[in-house]
C-alpha cells in the first residue's frame, strides 16, 4: 500500500503541489487528471527522485520510502511521456542493458528475461530493431517493459496516451489495467479523459497543485452528477 501524506512542493514562491494526501492499494490504479501544469507529472517525478519535495512523507507497506535511494532500490518504475527509450540500442538491448549493468545479470540471464518480457508485450519480432524504428504503440509497450524489468512495486505512467494515435488508447488502457491486475501499484498522470473511461481506477482531479475532487471510476460512470468538477473537466469546461 502506498501512502502519501501532506506532500508539498514549491519552485521558488510558486506552489506546485499543495498538501497532497492519498492512499493507493496494491493492484489498484490512481489516475491524476488535470490540465497541463497542475502538478500531476511533478508528483510522479517526485516518486522517481527526479524532483525533491519541501515537506510531506511517503510510505510503502507501512515503512517510510526514502526518495534519495529509490532509484537504487528499484521500488518505482517510470514510463515517461516521450518514452525516453535508448534510441541507439536495439529493442532487446533496451531491456538487457539495465539487467546486466544495474542488476548484474549475466548476458544469458538478461536475454532470457528480455525474451519473456518482449514476448508478453508483442515485441519479440522487433527485438533486433532499434528503438527509433518502432511505432508509437510499440515504443509505449517497450517503455512499459523496460520499467517492469527492474521489478518495481509501483509503476508511474506520465501522459501514457499523449504521443499515441487515439485508436491505440484502448490498447494502452488494457496494458495499464493488466499492470494493476498483476499486483502493481499504478499511478497515471493524464489529461486524456478517454483513458479514465476505460480504466477501473480512482480518479484524482487536480487543479493548481491540489486534489480538488476524487471519484471511483465506476461511481463516476454510474453517477457523474455526484462529481461536478470531474464532470465539467470531462466536458471540457474546466
Amino acid at each position: 500500500m502506498l501512502k502519501i501524506k501532506h506532500l508539498n512542493k514549491s519552485f521558488h514562491t510558486k506552489k506546485i503541489l499543495n498538501d497532497i494526501s492519498l492512499t493507493v492499494q496494491k493492484g489498484k490504479i490512481a489516475l491524476f487528471l488535470g490540465s497541463s501544469g497542475v502538478g500531476k507529472s511533478t508528483l510522479l517525478r517526485i516518486l522517481n527522485n527526479l524532483e525533491t519535495i519541501n515537506s510531506g512523507t511517503i510510505e510503502l507497506d507501512g515503512a517510510p520510502l526514502d526518495l534519495n535511494t529509490i532509484n537504487t532500490t528499484h521500488t518505482v518504475g517510470m514510463v515517461f511521456q516521450h518514452f525516453n527509450l535508448f534510441d541507439h540500442l536495439t529493442v532487446e538491448q533496451n531491456i538487457t542493458l539495465p539487467l546486466e549493468r544495474v542488476l548484474k545479470k549475466t548476458p544469458t540471464e538478461a536475454q532470457a528475461i528480455a525474451h519473456n518480457l518482449l514476448q508478453r508485450y508483442g515485441l519479440l519480432e522487433q527485438k533486433n530493431k532499434y528503438a527509433l524504428q518502432l511505432s508509437g504503440g510499440q515504443k509505449q509497450r517497450l517503455a512499459i517493459a523496460r520499467a517492469l524489468v527492474m521489478q518495481p512495486k509501483i509503476i508511474c505512467l506520465d501522459e501514457p496516451t499523449s504521443a499515441l494515435d487515439p485508436v491505440l488508447t484502448s490498447y494502452v488502457a488494457n496494458n495499464i489495467q493488466q499492470l494493476a491486475n498483476d499486483g502493481y501499484i499504478v499511478l497515471v498522470a493524464t489529461h486524456d479523459t478517454d483513458l479514465l473511461k476505460k480504466l477501473d481506477c480512482t480518479v484524482y482531479l487536480m487543479s493548481e497543485g491540489s486534489i480538488i475532487e476524487t471519484a471511483q471510476s465506476q461511481e463516476l460512470r454510474n453517477n457523474p452528477d455526484a462529481f461536478p468538477r470531474i464532470k465539467r473537466f470531462i466536458a471540457g469546461d474546466e
Binding site: N48, N49, L50, N71, T72, H74, V76, G77, M78, F80, H82, N84, L85, F86, D87, H88, L97, P98, R101, V102, K129, Y130, L132, Q133, R146, A147, M150
Partner: protein, 220 residues
Amino acid sequence: MIIDFNLIAEYFPVLLQGLIVTLQIAGISCCIGFILGTILALMQTSKNPLLQIFVTGYVIIIRGTPMLIQIFTAYFLLPQLGIHIPALWTAIIAIGLNSAAYISQIIKSGISSIGRGQFEAAKVLGFSTQDTIRFIILPQALRTALPALGNEFVTLIKDSSLASLIGVAELTKQGNFIKSKTFDAITVYFAIAVLYLILTSTISFLVARLEKRMNIHAQD
C-alpha cells in the same frame, strides 16, 4: 612536362618513409586527442566548477595560440624541465594536446545535444553515473559529433606537417629534402600534395561510411 614522374618514382621510397612517419604522428596524436578530448568534455559538462574552469582555460589557451608556437614551446621547454624525448614524440604530444582542445568542444556539443530525458531514464533505472555516460550518453554524443570529428582528424593530418619544423622526418620534411637535392619543387610538392590528398580523402571516406552505418538505424 612540368611534373617529372620519373623523379617521383625514383624518390618514392623516401616519400614512403615520410608518409609512414606522418601516419605515426597523425594516428597517435589522434588517439591522444580523442581520449584526452573526451575526458576534457566530460570534465567540462560535469557539475564541478573547478573542472569547468580548468577546461575552459585550457581550451582558450590552446585555441588562442598557433599550433607552431605550441610545438616550438614543447620542443624547447621539455628539455628545460629535464624531459628528453625525441622530436617525433614532442610533435606527437604537442599536436595531440592541441587536438584534444578542439575535440573536447566537439564532444561537449554532442553531449549537450542529448536530451535530459536520456539522463532521467538512466537515473530512474538505477544506472551509475559512469554507466550512464559510458553506455547511454557517450555513444549517442559521438554519433552526433562524428562529422565534426572527421573534419578534425583531417585537419590533424594536415597539421602534422608542422612537425617538419622541429626536424621530424615526416612527409613534408622528406619532400624538402628531395627538393634540395633535385631542385624540382613543383614535382616534389605535387607528389606530397597527392599523398596528403589520398590520406585525407581516405579518412573522409571512412568517416562517411561510419556515419552512414551509425545512422542506418535512424531510417525506417
